[in-house]
Amino acid sequence: MTEQVVVTRDVSKVYGSGHAATTALREASIHLHEGEFMALLGPSGSGKTTLLSIVGALLTPTSGEVTVAGEDVTRLTARARSGFRARRIGFVFQHFNLVPFLTAAENMLVAAQFASVPRHEAQARVARLLDELGLAGVRNQVPSRLSGGERQRVAIGRALMNDPDVILVDEPTANLDTKLGTAVVELLAHEIRSRHKAGIMVTHDVRMVDFTDRTVEILDGTVRC
């Protein structure tokens, strides 16, 4: 039996207070094992991004327990959360969100810098990842000179840079055509499984569900497995 990497129990999130209070998430409980890739489906405003942000230590839940890689993230200070995200979580964002003035290699290196990885070790990891992701030829290109697929692969490389326990993916196909989108999710699924990571992907695109191991649907803040 593989280890549970992500566990949420009865997690709720309420924005605002009093009459303006909005419940984004109601007692959401999910769990995810090492090497498992899960899709989080739901319409806009359903709470899937809130759940992803809570698992990623970007948001603190109003109530409930969240354990990621054995750590209770709800108890971490703001500073500790930064370090936790740098070392244990890999993010792949919707709009690639690469630093525009850094090259492909530097965009990956910057993640290692925030995790205080020694420079020579970080450079070795970058070289390896660039090779594995088929990006060696564009290592010195800035994002504006990369294709959409290359940018998303650099973003995946950045997410894998610090060998995190969890990869969180936010709408990875939103800005790509179907063919490229499929290739990117296929690559993500491969990387997550082959590297024994736990992956959660927020998506609207039901076709991408085929590449995941499990689907969790959220509707009005409530998880429906």
Partner: protein, 380 residues
């Protein structure tokens, strides 16, 4: 730091524009402080060259070199005052100098004459060529090196005002001009000859000079010695050389004017830097959110902005210093311009400080960027 440097390198255009603005502001400030130093130096050189700790004036004349009149006999009384190591009388005349006995308008240059007792306080420091007049000779003088630009050389003869008394130039004294004009340094006897010739109305029965130059004993408190002098002498006001310089007509006002301009320029610098970093922080809000999401701390990002402000300010200052030196070297000698290293270093320090403060103001904005915004939208 690497992130900061890479951004400057790869976004040269925007950083160059603010860097050039900073450089030009620094050129303006360095030029202003050098002009101020030049003016200060040109106005006060003769007073500083007296190399005295205290100057004793006639009381009630607001330390005016012109109006002050003290008996030369007071020198002996001053020497007996506790805390005084030596004293000397100094006479001052203002007028024009010329190098020919005939008065030819084109040959005239403004000049002051300082008479002193050779070997006593009041004898000029900073001799750079030739020698100073000796106690046993008259009709010789050392002149401020600035007079070289008026064509005066060693061995030349100069005449003061309407006097036809020739004064042979035997030495040059550096940094000893007064009110931006060269000073002729002569023995007190020669000065009296000139006084009789050109200002007979100022000649009195007792031998008088304009002020006393006082050296204070090592370890003595100059203020206490000044008080003792004024108690021991009749109707005098003794002040430190620095106070006498500050009392020169227009000196303090001139400094205040220049320093106000410099202050306003720094205010402009602070606004430029603050706006620049506020704008680029605003523009990079999303990017900052992403970097925070992947583990960057507010401290890392603020340090990056601070590093950028210094990477702009330091080269801008160094470039401005080089440019100002070039401009200064090309200036005609009559324009006051003196490189005051301490003032320049202060300018560099102020530029760096203002830049850092300007950049630090973006800290609040950076700290308020929520990394959660990097993913989807709140409430989704």
């Amino acid at each position: 730091m690497r992130l900061a440097w890479k951004e400057i390198l790869r976004r040269r255009g925007r950083f160059l524009s603010v860097g050039i603005t900073l450089l030009l502001i620094n050129v303006l400030v360095l030029f202003l402080v050098s002009q101020l130093a030049g003016l200060d130096s040109g106005q006060t050189g003769a007073i500083r060259a007296l190399d005295a700790d205290l100057l004793t004036f006639d009381a009630g004349v607001d330390q005016s070199l012109f109006r002050s009149s003290v008996p030369v006999a007071a020198v002996q009384r001053a020497r007996s005052v506790s805390g005084v190591s030596d004293a000397g009388a100094v006479g001052v005349l203002f007028g024009t100098g010329r190098t020919q006995v005939e008065v030819v308008p084109d040959d005239l240059f403004d000049m002051s004459v300082f008479g002193y007792e050779p070997g006593s306080p009041g004898e000029p420091a900073n001799l750079v060529a030739g020698r100073l007049p000796r106690a046993d000779e008259s009709g010789v003088g050392a002149i401020d090196a600035r007079a070289r630009t008026d064509g005066v050389a060693l061995g030349d003869v100069v005449y003061f005002a309407e006097s036809d008394r020739p004064i042979e130039i035997v030495g040059f004294v550096e940094d000893s001009s007064f009110q931006l004009q060269p000073t002729l340094w002569v023995g007190l006897d020669t000065w009296e000859e000139l006084l009789v010739a050109v200002r007979p109305e100022r000649v009195s029965d007792d031998q008088r000079a304009n002020l006393l130059a006082i050296d204070v004993e090592s370890g003595a408190d100059p203020d206490a010695v000044a008080q003792a002098l004024d108690s021991g002498l009749t109707h005098t006001e003794s002040v430190t050389t620095a106070d006498a310089i500050a009392a020169l007509p227009g000196f303090s006002e001139q400094r205040r004017t220049f320093l106000t301009i410099v202050g306003m320029t720094y205010l402009a610098t602070a606004i430029v830097i603050t706006l620049f970093f506020a704008l680029i922080t605003l523009e990079k809000s999303e990017q900052i959110g992403i970097l925070k999401a992947i583990g960057a701390r507010t401290r890392d990002l603020t340090a990056s902005v601070l590093a950028q402000s210094l990477l702009l300010a330091i080269p801008a200052f160094l470039g401005a210093a080089a440019l100002t030196l070039l401009v200064g070297a090309a200036l005609p000698p009559e324009l006051p311009f003196t490189v005051d290293t301490q003032a320049w270093l202060t300018v560099g320090l102020l530029t760096a400080t203002v830049s850092v403060i300007g950049a630090l103001l973006s800290f609040r904005r950076i700290s308020r960027i929520d990394p959660a915004n990097a993913i989807g939208g709140a409430g989704d």
